[in-house]
Symmetry: C2
């Protein structure tokens, strides 16, 4: 796949074949992609926690909020939950300023996941205290982002945006629809800029 | 190139063949990669300004700070400057919270640039007021990140980190060296997490 194909395929997935085991080597390879990506002032303050067993994944799941726009959906049911997680932490002993390092890292990881036949979702809506208590995460680490990973079982469709409504939705066949702004809307110019 | 090759090749470049013209279509294709990338709550608040002529690129350059660790280097000399820029703005009429959307978008764009035979650098160290005045950027847009693009003419080498020193440096042949933390350092676990 070239990059355009990878990016097209890299939709936020929230329903998975939970029986699909993700090898720890695969998770490490994904982190390696992040490790080699850009970091503000090359500080590299990010650290990664990896989870790939049912027992450990069960410890993460309750701390996540799923799909804010799907009010009637509490998140993936048993059997359709992620079978792996990468938690991105910011190491405050390196810097207190993480900028967008975790966005850069997360994009590298998610594209790598797609290339490896997986898919997933970046989750920033996290019950921080619950997760910190559950995993005994020391205070020097900030919880920045959780990447939920698995073998996707849902179809995600990109729609053209209508009336500026960005809310994703599900159709009667459980296909997930994501309205995206078109290129003409996002590329702008001011009278004076060229 | 597969993703690992792309990411390996995607080093921060700061010296370019300034005579290399970047087609506006190429810049638009890069923004399209960002457009199709993940956005927090799918809000898609990012807007993009594109620059690809010498006259317009000259207007951006003075607002950029280059390579903080290279104290004796004021930035690329005439003839070695970027021949294109993508400025990422946050549209505050959409949301005041941009999260790491611009990190995700920037990574998609930089990987696309490498695939297209270009290279560049994400720059967050910006003289905001100067740039806003020069381009007459309305107050409703926050200046988030500038992607400097061009045809790289420098060799960038990844080194293993020594004594935790993250500062990049240049050798006598002007090769740029970037120390990266190794995988064992960035993947961590706590006694209790698995």
């Amino acid at each position: 796949m070239n990059l355009k194909e990878l990016i097209n395929k890299n939709r936020s997935n929230r329903r998975f074949d939970e029986s699909h085991h993700i090898d720890i080597k695969t998770l490490k390879k994904l982190v390696d992609l992040a490790r080699l990506s850009a970091s503000g002032a090359n500080r590299q303050p990010l650290k990664y926690l990896l989870f790939n067993t049912p027992e450990n994944c069960e410890r993460i799941f309750p701390s996540l909020a799923w799909a804010g726009y799907l009010k009637d959906w509490p998140g993936p049911a048993t059997g359709e939950r992620p079978s792996g997680y990468i938690i991105i932490l910011g190491d405050k002993s390196v810097t207190e300023v993480f900028g967008v390092d975790h966005g850069i890292a997360a994009q590298s990881i998610m594209l790598g996941a797609v290339e490896a036949g997986l898919g997933g979702c970046m989750i920033a809506s996290i019950k921080h205290k619950d997760l910190r208590d559950e995993l005994k995460i020391p205070a020097k680490f900030e919880i920045l982002l959780i990447l939920a990973l698995g073998k996707p079982i849902e179809k995600v469709v990109i729609d053209e945006i209508k009336n500026g409504d960005v809310k994703y939705w599900r159709d009667s066949e459980k296909n997930h629809h994501v309205p995206k702004r078109n290129l003409d809307e996002v590329i702008i110019s001011f009278q004076t800029d060229n």
